[in-house]
Symmetry: C2
Subunit: 560 residues, 2 copies
């Protein structure tokens, strides 16, 4: 079952014989001296591994294999299942050794191949993690998705981007408007036809995801087209290898200039991975600068460039869409070319767009899948779907987890912030329920992505153990900020920069009517109290008591 | 002097004979049918150029050459000087055809080569564009710069990043703290030695610029090291070509996982341009995931990896720095490896960092150089340094220029916003000076980078033609917002999201003392009036009168 010689380990798993070099095993040793148990990061550099490393012994113990190395007798214990999953050979999603970004990990398409449009609906996307995963997966797989029912209101496109990643701010701002301008700095801001292109070729790193949200459609024209650049590149390689090589091997200079900008980048029109697989498309003649190569190369380039452009422009490659108000296109700007027809009419077409990146989108999708798997496993164990941990175990786990060490734009971590808030409530002589509410007000941040209704989410989770005296102030502490901005002159001035920033997202100060309604609601005054401790509990010079300090109080509350 | 045959144009400039293919000339035709005069972008796609294009005639007229093409008789007029500057051959900064990002456009170094540290001082950087250009140039040339005297206060590193580009937000936030954490998600947040590495190898696109700002130094240890990865790669290629090829040709999988993140990327440790020049370094064993290649490739990779790591780790390559509070390192994360020694002591070391990108930095530097050139040329023409245009000419030019079409986060352009404000003042029956102040309150935004004291800058520029009745309300309109937030309950609720955002940067609401002082200042009430029109003048449904409507009023004011 297990054998070894100097340099390697051999192992039989089912029908397969797996073989691992000693140095590979050692570099991936999971012991706490080699890999940090908290972060999972490796503690050793490659130069820390002894020269002339060998496998001195290997022992099969149940589901694991213990490897002893020469010359230093270090030992690693590997789960057999882990070794089987990491068998050598070309790894990656489909055995190509690529990382999910090349043609090999995509579904290439012509419009005729699409039985139906990859699409989703914003309300369902928000409500259902499985739906959300499907929408994000479409961007990676097909290169685009049409998300419908995003309210046709200014700024909403930023919410869509924030739901899966981080907005890439550029000289066009965090958000840009695509509509007619009287003296446009970019042809996008005219009525003109825009041929299929990728955006921002003059930027390196180029933004890898683009969002376009339709607020107002044109009366006439302004149809959007999408082209799969990877599919076109595959055809080019198959039918005209010489042109493909010129496109992949010639850096083309791109540029953009305006009053405050001088961007330049040079990249080939087809970018390849080190293994020669298609990994990126840049195509945008508008922004191409004069190519400065020797005469013969220029003439060869132009002949090839025309052939590539003609192949891309074939009508059977253009997927035609008519964006309606509320439609938000999300697409891979390293793969999909987008264009539009000219438009007329008097209504005026108005899109808002922003940029983001594929790595963040893929990370969000991977976390959704991990959580889905977690729910499935948990579902099998606990059919009622309720936690069978005690409040202290479950909350203690959150305070000890990595999320508690995150910063949400404040000078202290969330964990420290919460413990400071609890301590402030305690020092003010608050009753147990209010101390608990102060301690737990941001527990929603510890359990899910920041910002997504964290007061509501936290209150709901806590309600399995605590009554409304704890959960309501948690639920209302964001509203309390909006209330205080209106009700109390000078309150706004006390907010941290981050708190001011989030206020704008939370709806800004309440109107006088909203404030009166809030003040009359049950638990509003407790929520205001929690809010004030919240605002103070951001002092990097303070060290709050540990979670254990609060455990007896929480335990007592859950027994009531 | 000028000759042609079917396919090309030949031209003698001084001693040189230049030769351009017809298709290259046509693709770069500067006529208004081929190139948009406003944006400078090309209007034609490559497929719009006729097949079988040729030069039918060429004529030398003074400083220009007029080219007539067959078959369609289109004509292009090129300045001889432009053709000379764009002579074919390997273009780019130093004739290599690269774009400023490869080894060929850098000064590679060992610490012994550095006569003095590339450095600058934040106050001088802010005050002097030439100093600013020098600091940014150092990052492109040497890969790093040490910016001193940045106040050792939380959040300042974001100001440094914003001074030359856009912060790249990541799962670590817009800003991250490097200090000891109780349960660190990353080894950076411990006392441990961190070997030289690049950051975020698990991200693609990787952040290309990193900033690290020292708030508190360690009592003992915690020394920073910098290594020029491009210089090491050059040596590797020269001394061990086989290892270099393996490092450049093998994608290595990197990963990072925490509660809300699952980032993955695969890239070679040495990234090459399509011409085979070194363009990027990734080196970070902490985050490397198991390499899954066939057995023979894995063993060859590990042998090469060790040699590359040993070469990088040589002491003569490590530049040692001890960051003091106020020091901010800015470095190229695609080139420079950074590390630190372990540290002890009780004081605790505290850095704050953030990420940005090289393209934005290079753009800012190019704009600084363009402006410097503009000042030099203007200095030659106008020794007094004062505009010799009339107010109407100079202001009219700004309203017609591309800056007036920018959006600063509002639903209308700056030009529309200003004209709406002027119209509101007029409709309210304000006197001429106050109408002018409303119309011109953001003129500072039209003349320089947004946000840099635009009230002050605008007032100063206007003072060459107008008295204080115009300039003071312009100067004070930002202060008026801070004043109204304090003095008038409910005012904050009227602000746009963008205005709330900028309020935080402007210092937030005034204290009661500041407000009293402001209210007593001359022209404060006029500034408040301008402010209210400012807040209203953001209506996308309104179309304000054109600039010409206000010209007679401005002209009358300048005559007084």
């Amino acid at each position: 079952m297990v054998s070894w010689d100097d340099g390697k380990l051999e192992l039989t798993v089912g029908e397969r014989t797996l073989c691992f070099p000693a140095v590979w095993l050692r570099d991936n040793c999971p012991c706490p001296a080699c890999r940090d148990p908290d972060s999972g990061q490796k503690l050793k550099d490659i130069t820390d591994i002894p020269n002339g490393l060998a496998v001195a012994a290997a022992e099969d113990i149940g589901e694991s294999v213990v490897v002893t190395y020469a010359p230093d007798r270090h030992q690693s214990t590997f789960a057999r299942s882990w070794l089987a999953r990491h068998a050598l050979g070309y790894g990656g999603a489909d055995g190509t050794g690529e990382d999910g970004r090349t043609e090999d990990d995509k579904q290439l398409w012509l419009p005729a191949d699409l039985d139906q449009l990859p699409q989703g609906s914003w309300p369902r996307y928000l409500a259902d993690p499985a739906d959300r995963a499907g929408v994000l997966d479409a961007v990676l797989r097909w290169g685009f998705v049409l998300l419908r029912d995003v309210p046709a209101e200014a700024g909403r496109v930023l919410e869509v981007a924030a739901s899966f990643g981080f907005v890439r701010e550029t000289n066009y701002g965090r958000l840009f408007d695509v509509r007619i301008e009287p003296r446009p700095a970019n042809l996008a801001f005219t009525r003109r036809r825009i041929l299929p292109h990728t955006d921002n070729p003059y930027r390196d790193p180029v933004p890898t995801v683009q969002l376009l949200h339709c607020l107002r459609a044109a009366d006439d024209g302004g149809e959007t087209s999408l082209t799969d650049g990877f599919a076109a590149a595959r055809e080019l390689r198959a039918t005209d290898g010489e042109t493909f090589q010129i496109m992949a091997g010639t850096p083309v200079p791109f540029g953009y200039t305006d009053q405050s900008t001088e961007l330049r980048a040079s990249q080939p029109l087809i970018q390849l991975s080190p293994r020669g697989r298609v990994r990126g498309i840049r195509f945008n003649n508008r922004s191409a600068r004069p190519l400065r190569l020797p005469y013969a190369e220029v003439t060869a380039f132009y002949a090839a460039y025309r052939r590539w452009a003609e192949l891309l422009a074939r009508p059977e490659r253009q997927l035609k869409l008519r964006l309606a108000p509320g439609d938000c296109l999300i697409f891979d700007n390293t793969r999909i070319l987008h264009g539009r027809t000219a438009f007329g009419g008097t209504g005026g077409r108005h899109l808002q767009g922003c940029y983001a990146d594929l790595d963040g989108l893929a990370s969000t999708l991977a976390v959704l899948r991990r959580e889905e798997k977690g729910r499935e496993e948990k579902g099998r164990k606990e059919p009622e779907g309720r936690s069978n941990m005690t409040a202290i175990e479950a909350i203690g786990e959150l305070f000890a987890g990595p999320g508690a060490n995150d910063y949400l734009g404040e000078p202290v971590t969330i964990g420290e912030h919460l413990r400071q808030a609890g301590a402030l409530a305690e020092a003010a002589g608050a009753d147990d329920a209010l101390v608990a509410a102060a301690l737990l007000h941001d527990v929603g941040h510890l359990r899910s992505a920041p910002g997504v209704g964290h007061g509501e989410a936290g209150a709901q989770w806590l309600s399995q153990w605590f009554g409304q005296a704890v959960t309501e102030p948690v639920r209302l502490h964001v509203a309390a900020k909006r209330y205080l901005c209106t009700a109390e002159p000078g309150y706004f001035g006390l907010l941290s920069a981050e708190s001011v920033r989030s206020l704008a997202l939370q709806g800004g100060p309440m109107t006088a009517e909203e404030a009166a309604e809030f003040a009359a609601a049950p638990h509003a005054q407790e929520a205001v109290a929690v809010r004030r401790w919240d605002d103070q509990a951001k002092d990097p010079a303070v060290t709050a008591p540990p979670f254990a300090h609060f455990a007896p109080l929480l335990e007592a509350l859950t027994r009531r």
